[in-house]
């Protein structure tokens, strides 16, 4: 599903953020990407959604080399990847429903599909009954669920979560991971960037560790 081949990313100021990385994440896999600040995790994610260009190497997403993707095709790549952020990135002047529906409007989904998908993702993330609430009326955990619902609405084959529980208490964080595991069980590939050691250790999933732009550990059932 995702493959990095001899990938190098050097910045103009001389820092090598990704240093010859070779990595493959299969369809339906659940993987953690861990590492200290400055290890290259953020660059890794930015390269995946083509926010940045690699210096050399290839990135394959869903069978396509995205390094050769034209500018006009970038939105279509991003539609394959549902992104969840640490700070939720919700629109605070819009309701839960409007935040989720926006993702479906962007892909020009028909009205019937919008209604059906909204109902489905609200159930999946446990937010039925909160459709008309504004994000500020919700707890942090609920806001992250809205973000998750928005990422899921277009049924992307890949979900990338960047520190999804960084702003949440441990119990809420656990609930978010439960939901992510449930989504993964339906066949969605999930990559989570996190510092939540306890959760990584308890879930017994694949762990890829980056440091100074290199993969220093890649274990199928690893710990932090």
């Amino acid at each position: 599903m995702i493959e990095f081949i001899n990938l190098v990313k050097k910045y103009d100021h001389g820092v090598t953020a990704i240093d010859n990385v070779n990595l493959k994440i299969d369809k339906g896999e659940f993987a953690f990407l861990v590492g200290p600040s400055g290890s290259g995790k953020s660059t890794f994610l930015r390269l995946l959604i083509k926010e940045e260009e690699p210096t050399s190497g290839k990135i394959i997403v869903d069978g396509k080399d995205i390094t050769r993707l034209k500018k006009k095709d970038i939105p279509f790549l991003r539609r394959k990847i549902g992104f969840v952020f640490q700070d939720f990135r919700l629109l605070y002047d819009r309701t839960v429903e409007e935040n989720i529906v926006l993702a479906l409007r962007v892909i020009e989904a028909p009205e019937k599909e919008i209604k059906a998908q909204l109902k489905s993702v609200l159930q999946m993330v446990g937010l039925v009954g909160k459709e008309k609430f504004f994000p500020n009326q919700l707890s942090g955990g609920e806001q992250q669920r809205v973000a998750l619902a928005r990422a899921l609405a277009t049924k992307p084959p890949i979900i990338i979560a960047d520190e999804p529980t960084g702003n949440l208490d441990p119990i809420t964080a656990e609930e978010i991971f439960k939901t992510l595991l449930e989504i993964n069980s339906r066949g969605t590939t999930i990559l989570v960037v996190t510092h939540a050691k306890d959760i990584v250790d308890s879930l017994n999933k694949r762990v890829i560790a980056l440091d100074h732009g290199k993969v220093i550990k890649d274990e199928a059932r690893g710990v932090y």
């Binding site: 959604i49 500018k71 006009k72 970038i74 939105p75 279509f76 790549l77 991003r78 539609r79 992104f83 990135r89 919700l90 629109l91 002047d93 926006l102 993702a103 409007r105 962007v106 892909i107 020009e108 009205e111 928005r150 990422a151 277009t154």
Partner: protein, 295 residues
């Protein structure tokens, strides 16, 4: 709701969201449109009067006193033979006297008692198709026996033509400046709108929005601002025009100058304003978006 309906609705929502900025932008656009409209109206009226004058004015050929009716008929035939002459009107001595009375209107008392003195000569009013032919026609009219003087009120016509030419250039210059100013103002407002929606745009990008999806609400916002400003300007300028028309056309303050009736000019102003509003709105938005929305 189709995607386009949604995007139009978004554009309208944006307008409300940027309330005070929207209102101040529209006020400035209205002001520039009004100034532009006034110049267009002046230009249209000057052109209208030039056209009317060109048609109405003609040469006046004065006939010698002792000319007989037969000779007058013969002279008329000769005038008809001149190329470019469109109409010939014979004005007898009595008609010339009545014409003078008409011209002086309320002050015609000083003509009292002059009816039988034969002081006004008979004449032909020779009208022509093109102003350019006037010198040639005049030369030929002067050659006709029995004509002792040919009068052509060239100065009035030439003055009006040169005014219209100046008005033309002035309109073009002022119009261009105002157009650029309006585009700049709308573009600036949209730039601020884009800036205040930065976060929303970034989120839309992450969820795979195409540039057209992001851009359309801003274009709609610009277009609505342009068209609403156009309609407000149209209403204001119509009120002023009708008021000025009624006040000045019924008096003799402007002499021969006549205003174009509102009924024949309103749709031109409305059309111009709406097209201009759309152009300013769409173009103004587009130029600021091009710079600020890179994938």
């Amino acid at each position: 709701m189709t995607t386009n309906t949604y995007l139009i609705k978004e554009g309208y929502t944006n307008l409300n969201k940027h309330g005070s900025k929207t209102i101040s932008t529209m006020l400035i656009i209205c002001a520039t449109m009004l100034i532009l409209g006034i110049f267009v109206i002046i230009f249209q009226n000057v052109n209208y009067n030039v056209k009317t004058l060109r048609l109405e004015q003609g040469l006046q050929a004065f006939i010698e006193d002792k000319t007989t009716d037969d000779e007058i008929e013969y002279m008329k035939d000769q005038l008809h033979l001149i190329d470019g002459v469109s109409e010939i009107i014979y004005m007898s001595k009595a008609e010339a006297f009545e014409d003078a009375k008409d011209q002086f209107k309320d002050q015609d008392y000083f003509l009292d008692g002059l009816e039988n003195l034969d002081i006004f000569p008979a004449s032909f009013i020779v009208k022509f198709e093109n102003i350019e032919d006037v010198d040639n026609i005049r030369a030929q009219v002067e050659k006709i026996d029995g004509i002792y003087k040919v009068k052509y009120n060239a100065s009035t016509i030439e003055a009006v033509i040169s005014i219209s030419k100046v008005a033309n250039y002035f309109l073009l210059g002022v119009g261009s400046v105002l157009l650029v100013v309006s585009i700049f103002i709308i573009s600036n407002t949209i730039k601020l709108a884009v800036y205040s929606n930065k976060r929303e745009i970034m989120i839309m990008r992450y969820i795979g929005a195409k540039n057209s999806f992001i851009v359309k609400p801003f274009i709609v916002e610009g277009a609505i601002m342009g068209v609403v400003s156009a309609l407000i300007s149209f209403i204001l300028i119509s009120i002023v025009y009708v008021y000025v028309y009624v006040a000045l056309n019924s008096s003799y303050a402007l002499g021969v100058f006549k205003f174009i009736p509102y009924s024949t000019i309103w749709y031109q102003i409305l059309g111009l304003y709406v097209l201009l509003g759309l152009f300013i709105g769409i173009f103004g938005s587009a130029i600021s978006l091009k710079k600020y929305l890179k994938a």
